[in-house]
C-alpha cells in the first residue's frame, strides 16, 4: 500500500510524512488534527504539504485546546472517522490525558464492543536538545499502563512509516510516539512491513540480549559495534502489544539481558521487561537483568548536564560487558 516501492534513503521525518500521506490517501475517513499541523506544516515541518494536498477538511488546524480537540478526535473516531490527533510534545499528555485514559481506551470495553475508537494519538518525545524539563519527557510507561491502548515507538525510518500506517488501520486507539532526535536520521525505506506487535532483532549476537525501543536503538547499535561483547539488539517497536517471546527466545540463548531506554528508569517500562524476563527465563539467566536509562530527575536545561543523564553508547557497552564479567 506504500507509495514508495523501491528502497530509497529517506529521513525519519519524511517517512512519517509519507505515512501520513498514505493513510490520508488510502482511507477517506482519515483526518489529521492538531496545533499548526495544517497550513503551517507543523512546527517541525513533519506535516508539510498535507494541507495543500488533502485540504482543510482533512488536515485541520486547532486552537490551543488539547483537552478539546483530542477529545473531539475520540468522539469523531466513535462516529465513523479515523482521526490522527497530534499532541505536539508528549509532555502535553498532562493537559489531555482524560480523552486518552478515560475515554478512548475504555469506551469500547464499557460498551462491550458496541463502540470502537480507531484513533491514533501521534506525539513526539526526545531529550538531548535542551528543550527543558517540560519538553523532554518520555512517558511511554504511563501510556503502556493503560489497558486497551497500543503503544508504538518507531526507531527506524521504515517503522516511522509502517507503524503509523498500522496504527491508523488498527480498529482501536494507538499511541504513536516519534522521537524528534531521529527526525533527521536517514535510512532505507524498506518494503515488506513487519506487523504491529512483532519485535525485530536489529542485530544478532551471542553474549547479551539488549532490549530497547525508540531513540536508544541507535545508541545500542553503536554500543554493539564497539563492545568487546557480542550484543543481540532487539527493537521492541511496540510496548503494547509486547512481543516478549522474542525477548525470551534471545535471553534463553544469551542468558544475559540489558534493557535500555531514554525514559526515567524508576517505574519505567524497562521494569516490566526486566520483571517478565526475571520470571520467565529465571533458570537460564547467567546474570541479573540490568537497566540503562535516565535517572529519576527532571531534565536539566544545561546541555552537559542533560547529556550526562541520558544513556550513551559507552554506558550501554560498559553495562553489557559488566554483565558478561559477572555472569555465573
Amino acid at each position: 500500500m506504500s507509495s514508495q516501492a523501491e528502497i530509497v534513503p529517506t529521513r525519519y521525518m519524511e517517512a512519517i510524512n509519507l505515512g501520513l500521506a498514505d493513510a490520508l490517501e488510502e482511507d477517506d475517513r482519515v483526518i489529521l488534527l492538531g496545533i499548526d499541523v495544517g497550513a503551517g506544516g507543523g512546527i517541525f515541518t513533519v506535516t508539510r504539504g498535507l494541507h495543500e494536498r488533502f485540504g482543510s477538511e482533512r488536515v485541520i488546524d486547532t486552537p490551543i485546546s488539547e483537552m478539546g480537540y483530542v477529545g473531539a478526535g475520540v468522539g469523531a473516531a466513535m462516529t465513523g472517522l479515523r482521526p490522527i490527533v497530534e499532541i505536539m510534545f508528549m509532555d502535553f499528555i498532562s493537559v489531555c490525558l482524560d480523552p486518552i485514559m478515560n475515554q478512548a481506551t475504555k469506551l469500547g470495553y464499557m460498551t462491550n464492543g458496541a463502540l470502537s475508537v480507531p484513533i491514533v494519538f501521534r506525539m513526539q518525545t526526545g531529550a538531548g536538545r535542551s528543550a527543558g524539563a517540560q519538553h523532554s519527557q518520555s512517558l511511554e510507561a504511563m501510556l503502556a499502563h493503560i489497558p486497551g491502548l497500543k503503544v508504538v515507538m518507531p526507531a527506524t525510518v521504515t517503522d516511522a512509516r509502517d507503524l503509523l500506517l498500522e496504527a491508523v488501520r488498527d480498529p482501536g486507539p494507538v499511541a504513536y510516539i516519534e522521537n524528534r532526535r531521529l527526525y533527521a536520521m536517514k535510512g532505507d525505506l524498506e518494503t515488506d512491513p513487519l506487523p504491529l506487535g512483532k519485535a525485530r532483532v536489529a542485530r544478532p549476537g551471542d553474549d547479551v540480549t539488549v532490549v530497547t525501543w525508540g531513540q536508544t536503538l541507535r545508541d545500542c547499535l553503536k554500543a554493539a559495534e564497539t563492545s568487546s561483547a557480542s550484543l543481540e539488539v532487539i527493537d521492541l517497536r511496540s510496548l503494547v502489544p509486547l512481543d516478549i517471546e522474542t525477548v525470551y527466545r534471545s535471553a534463553e540463548r544469551t542468558g544475559r539481558v540489558l534493557v535500555v531506554h531514554e525514559a526515567v528508569q524508576d517505574f519505567g517500562a524497562g521494569a516490566e521487561i526486566a520483571a517478565r524476563v526475571g520470571e520467565e527465563v529465571f533458570d537460564l539467566l547467567l546474570a541479573p537483568v540490568r537497566r540503562v536509562a535516565t535517572p529519576a530527575v527532571p531534565m536539566p536545561f544545561n546541555p552537559a548536564l542533560e547529556r550526562s543523564l541520558l544513556p550513551s553508547p559507552e554506558a550501554i557497552a560498559a553495562a553489557a560487558e559488566g554483565l558478561v564479567a559477572e555472569g555465573r
Binding site: 483526518i31 477538511e57 482533512r58 486547532t62 486552537p63 485546546s65 483537552m67 478539546g68 480537540y69 483530542v70 477529545g71 473531539a72 478526535g73 475520540v74 468522539g75 469523531a76 473516531a77 466513535m78 462516529t79 465513523g80 472517522l81 482521526p83 482524560d98 480523552p99 478515560n102 475515554q103 469506551l107 469500547g108 470495553y109 464499557m110 460498551t111 462491550n112 464492543g113 458496541a114 463502540l115 470502537s116 475508537v117 480507531p118 489497558p147 486497551g148 497500543k150 488498527d170 480498529p171 482501536g172 486507539p173
Partner: protein, 306 residues
C-alpha cells in the same frame, strides 16, 4: 416522561434495597429536559450525557429492559453489564454514552458533530451536562471548537442549581449559563426546563440552526434535582422552601395538566400512561432480576477493538 419517572423512582428504591450496585444518580424532577430535548431529535442524531443520564438515554430510545439490566450489571444489559449506570450507552440509537468524568462528554460530542459535518450526514449532536460542568475547561474548549468549525452541536445544559452539594451561585459570578456563552459568539437560550413543550420548541429551533450550518447552540434548561446528588444524600444544604417550590412545579404534572387543558388527553388516558409505565418498569425489573451475570470470560473481552 412517565416512563422516566417510573424508572428513576424504581431505581431509587432498588438501590436503597441493595439490588443495584455502584453509584446511582437519578434525574427525578428533571424529566422534561430529557423528553423535550430528545423528542426533537432524529434517531440517528448523536447524544452524549453524564453520570445523571438515565432519563436522556431512555428518551433517546434505549430499550428499557436493556437499560434496567445494565444497572443490575447483567449480561442482558445494554453494555453487557460492563458499563453500569454511569456508562450506559446504545450507539445504534446515537447514544454515545453516559460518562462519569464531569465535562468529558462535550469534547466527545464535538467529535460527533465533526463526523456529521465532514461525512455530510446532517446529524445533530447533543451533549447534556450540568451547570457544574460549565466550570470545567472542557466546556470552554469544546464550545469554542464547535463555534469556529460551525458544528451541528447542541450544548444542553441541565441547570438544576446544584453540583453535588454546591449551589451554582457560589461557584461563578455569572450564574446564568446562557450569560456565559457570549464569549463564544454562539446563540444561547434559557428555557424553563420543567416545561416539556418549551424545551421541545427550543430544541426544534436549535436543531434547525444546527442543520442549516450555523454552528452550535447552547440551551440552558432551568430545572431542579429532587433527590440528593447520589441516592442516599439527605441534602441538608438545600433550603426547604426552595425544594418545595420546585416540587410544586412537577414537570410531569405540568405536562399532564397542559395535555388535559388543551384537550389532547383525558385524565384517564394519562392515568393509563402512568400505569403502563409502571407495568413496563415492573417487567424490566423482573427481567433484570432473572437475567444472568456476564460469563467470567467477558471480563477479558473488548479490551482491544476488532
Amino acid at each position: 416522561m412517565a416512563l422516566i419517572r417510573a424508572f428513576e423512582t424504581r431505581v431509587s428504591e432498588l438501590y436503597r434495597d441493595g439490588e443495584i450496585p455502584g453509584f446511582v444518580h437519578t434525574s427525578l424532577g428533571q424529566e422534561a429536559v430529557a423528553a423535550g430535548v430528545c423528542g426533537a431529535l432524529r434517531e440517528d442524531d448523536y447524544m452524549a450525557t453524564t453520570h445523571r443520564g438515565h432519563g436522556h438515554v431512555l428518551a433517546k430510545g434505549a430499550d428499557v429492559d436493556g437499560m434496567m439490566a445494565e444497572l443490575f450489571g447483567r449480561a442482558t444489559g445494554l453494555c453487557g453489564g460492563k458499563g453500569g449506570s454511569m456508562h450506559v450507552a446504545d450507539p445504534a440509537r446515537g447514544i454515545l454514552g453516559a460518562n462519569a468524568i464531569v465535562g468529558a462528554g462535550m469534547p466527545l460530542i464535538t467529535g460527533a458533530g465533526l463526523s456529521s459535518k465532514l461525512l455530510g450526514q446532517g446529524r445533530v449532536a447533543v451533549a447534556f451536562f450540568g451547570e457544574g460542568a460549565v466550570n470545567q475547561g472542557t466546556f470552554h474548549e469544546a464550545l469554542n471548537l464547535c463555534a469556529i468549525w460551525d458544528l451541528p452541536v447542541i450544548f444542553a445544559c441541565e441547570n438544576n442549581g446544584y453540583a453535588e452539594f454546591s449551589a451554582n451561585a457560589d461557584m461563578t459570578r455569572v450564574a446564568s449559563v446562557a450569560g456565559r456563552t457570549a464569549a463564544y459568539g454562539v446563540h444561547a437560550e434559557t428555557v424553563d426546563g420543567n416545561d416539556v413543550a418549551a424545551v421541545h420548541e427550543a430544541t426544534d429551533r436549535a436543531v434547525e440552526r444546527c442543520r442549516s450550518g450555523e454552528g452550535p447552540v447552547v440551551l440552558e434548561l432551568m430545572t431542579y434535582r429532587w433527590h440528593g446528588h447520589y441516592e442516599g444524600d439527605a441534602q441538608p444544604y438545600k433550603p426547604e422552601a426552595e425544594a418545595q417550590e420546585w416540587r410544586d412545579r412537577d414537570p410531569l404534572i405540568l405536562a399532564e395538566r397542559a395535555l388535559v387543558e388543551s384537550g389532547a388527553a383525558t385524565a384517564d388516558e394519562l392515568a393509563a400512561v402512568r400505569a403502563a409505565a409502571e407495568a413496563r418498569i415492573d417487567a424490566a425489573t423482573e427481567a433484570a432480576r432473572q437475567a444472568p451475570d456476564p460469563a467470567p470470560e467477558e471480563a477479558f473481552a473488548h479490551v482491544f477493538a476488532g
